[in-house]
């Protein structure tokens, strides 16, 4: 792994990988012009929204002023980080069309659920963050646990994503790891400092369009060259060309999972745990300018989300077909014979994009990285300022002080992310383990929220005990089982066919243990008075009436359309 200061010229990684084919990915002046133009625009947008920011809530929560088309695109863009774009293309080449499960079952159902059923409580409670909702609904300790875990996780993931970006630009373009990391972090820092959450959200919309317009031509050209979908299917293994046909047993498909753990583990626990409770995405909906706009944010977002596989996964599948047709070679890891799937996207770009469009493609990659990082940073500074600093360190200061703290947290957050990127570069194995552990933290959360929102009897003690049990039991299971040589630090009781299967089953265990312990402890402890639960729990909350607005502005009809289209997509690629 690259160390600080290691330059490509040192030829440490200069095996056939770099000295051969990849030298072709050389940028020309025009590509740099396009990249600089992008930098000018993101900084410009930050500068233009700067004068909107004079209070801490304007800086950290956009003062609930953003229209729905903007919040919904930001909702998916904040999740569409560089790791996501590079990773989805990589998985497309590795698992084929099965990768689309991460969208069609692993995101859409949860997005519909959070918009229709959960947003009335998030938005109606007037909480400024997801942890703050937990404080209002349960108690201080549950908020504290969630806020601290979330803050650590956001810094971690923005650092990992920065590391991925630095490594990619080092391998593909020969840029120095340090300069690409510092340059991109500095730009994110400046525009987030200038305009706060509004600036992050506005730029996420620009970044979203750039990602789509920058990668869609690649998907089209690569799929076209491979002979369209039928040509692709003819040149890849049949278990990579179908979504559901080979999910009877883990051995029959490249993901090593079976239908039950895919539907319940990914489609229910992991997906609902992420899309319904992760403040990174929920924050975008909470910034909307009305309850109706907040509820429609994830639903409107679901429309572009369900077609994203055709932009980010299809190039990977087409690359696999092209490789089997001997038109393109899958990139190999330095000095080895293993395929380096993470380099599929950039090598494919070098095969289809001439100077000019190549600059746009790399700018899109940079944009995906920035949208993911700004998403993490803008969620981190809010949770730090409101849920940790204002709650535990300094209560009752004037708002100006919290605005200052929000800005300071932005700087510190970026600094810690850079640090994490270097730690990731130096200690790759530790990061692998942490990534597995953090994967577990999300899984039990949905149990806490669903019980909190729909069961008046759930108590703070119950929620806290459940959340803790969920995380501990998940970590224990990770320590007791093995998959692809990972996990099993305590003992090897069971070996999964793939890390993915292990991940899904751990999520199911973490969710169920959290669910059961929350119920058991709640029944043993004293519930909050119903009068304190107004606008926090189903049954004592006014669900907005939508009869008077046209159908396309109502949540239910939008959700039905999305559901029907997703079902059709699943049938087409069955």
């Amino acid at each position: 792994m690259p160390q600080e200061g290691t330059e490509i010229g040192d030829c440490v990684y200069c095996h056939r990988f770099l000295c051969g084919r990849l030298r072709g990915l050389k940028l020309t002046a025009i590509d740099y012009v396009l990249l600089s133009l992008y930098f000018v625009f993101v900084l410009g947008i930050g500068w233009l929204v700067k004068r909107r920011v004079s209070t801490s809530s304007e800086f950290l929560t956009s003062g609930r002023s953003v229209p729905v088309w903007i919040t919904s695109l930001a909702f998916i863009a904040a999740n569409l980080g560089a790791q996501e774009v590079i990773g989805m293309c990589a998985s497309g080449a590795k698992y084929g069309i099965l990768t689309s499960h991460f969208y069609w079952i692993g995101a859409i159902p949860a997005m519909l659920f959070v918009g229709i059923f959960m947003m009335p409580f998030y938005y109606g409670s007037k909480a400024r963050s997801v942890p703050e909702y937990l404080k209002l609904r349960f108690d201080e300790k549950t908020r504290g646990l969630n806020a601290i875990m979330f803050a650590v996780m956001t810094i971690f993931s923005s650092g990992i994503s920065m590391y991925a970006l630095g490594l990619m630009f080092q391998l593909a373009l020969g840029w120095s790891f340090t300069s690409s990391v510092l340059l991109s972090a500095a730009i994110v820092l400046v525009y987030t400092l200038l305009g706060g959450l509004t600036s992050a959200i506005y730029n996420e919309v620009l970044q979203f369009f750039l990602i789509v317009l920058g990668f869609a031509p690649l998907a089209f050209l690569a799929a076209h060259r491979a002979g369209g979908w039928s040509g692709i299917v003819g040149h890849i293994a049949s278990n990579k060309a179908h979504l559901w046909s080979n999910l009877g047993s883990p051995a029959a498909n490249p993901m090593g999972v079976e239908a039950f753990s895919l539907i319940v583990g990914l489609g229910f626990t992991l997906s609902f745990g992420y899309w319904c409770t992760n403040f990174l995405v929920v924050q975008r909906a909470m910034a909307a300018n009305s309850m109706s706009a907040a509820r429609r944010t994830p639903l409107v977002a679901a429309f572009p989300k369900m077609f994203m596989p055709f932009v980010v996964i299809l190039p990977g599948i087409a690359a696999l077909a092209l490789a089997n047709m001997h038109l393109y070679d899958l990139p190999l890891k330095a000095g080895g014979t293993d395929v380096d799937y993470n380099m599929v996207l950039t090598t494919l770009m070098s095969k289809f994009y001439p100077a000019g469009m190549l600059g746009v493609g790399l700018t899109a990659l940079m944009a995906s990285f920035m949208s993911g990082m700004a998403g993490n940073i803008s969620a981190f500074n809010t949770v730090w300022t409101y849920d940790i600093y204002q709650s535990y360190i300094r209560k009752g200061a004037p708002d100006k002080h919290y605005l200052w703290m929000g800005r300071a947290a932005t700087v510190v957050g970026v600094g810690l992310s850079i640090l994490t990127a270097y730690v990731a570069a130096a200690f790759n194995n530790i990061m692998d383990i942490l990534q597995l552990v953090f994967g577990i933290v999300n899984a039990p959360l949905f149990a806490t929220f669903v019980l909190g929102m729909f069961w008046k009897r759930a108590t703070g003690n119950g929620a806290f005990a459940g959340l803790l049990t969920g995380c501990v039991s998940g970590t224990l299971m990770l320590g007791l089982t093995v998959a692809e040589g990972k996990g099993g630090w305590f003992a090897n009781l069971y070996e999964f066919r793939s890390s993915m299967a292990q991940n899904f089953w751990i999520a199911m265990l973490a969710f169920s243990s959290c669910f059961l312990v929350t119920i058991a402890v709640s029944l043993m402890s004293r519930p909050k008075a119903v009068s304190e639960l107004h606008n926090l729990v189903y049954g004592v909350t006014d669900i907005p009436k939508e009869e008077s607005v046209p159908w396309y502005k109502r949540p239910a009809p939008l959700a039905v359309i999305v559901a029907v289209v997703v079902i059709i997509l699943n049938i087409i690629f069955w």
């Binding site: 072709g24 025009i30 012009v33 396009l34 133009l37 992008y38 625009f41 410009g44 947008i45 233009l48 929204v49 903007i70 506005y202 919309v205 620009l206 369009f209 317009l213 031509p217 050209l221 690569a222 076209h224 060259r225 092209l322 038109l327 393109y328 095969k351 289809f352 994009y353 001439p354 100077a355 000019g356 469009m357 746009v360």
Partner: protein
């Protein structure tokens, strides 16, 4: 800033225009590419159209 569509529209209109110019200055075909299509021209036109629609929508709204 009142309308995000203005900077987005401007950005893509400029990028599109640059790509169209590049496509005429350095047309190809590029021997080392897997496609014979004029990628810059077609991508440039679609970005220019997208940017213009954004600007038109912003203008109509104001």
């Amino acid at each position: 800033m009142n309308d995000l569509r203005i900077p987005i529209g401007l950005f893509f209109a400029i990028i599109g225009a640059i790509l169209i110019v590049v496509s005429f200055v350095a047309p190809g075909p590029h021997a080392d590419l897997l496609t014979s299509a004029n990628v810059n021209l077609y991508s440039g036109i679609s970005m220019l159209v997208f940017g213009s629609v954004m600007l038109w929508l912003a203008r109509r709204a104001s």
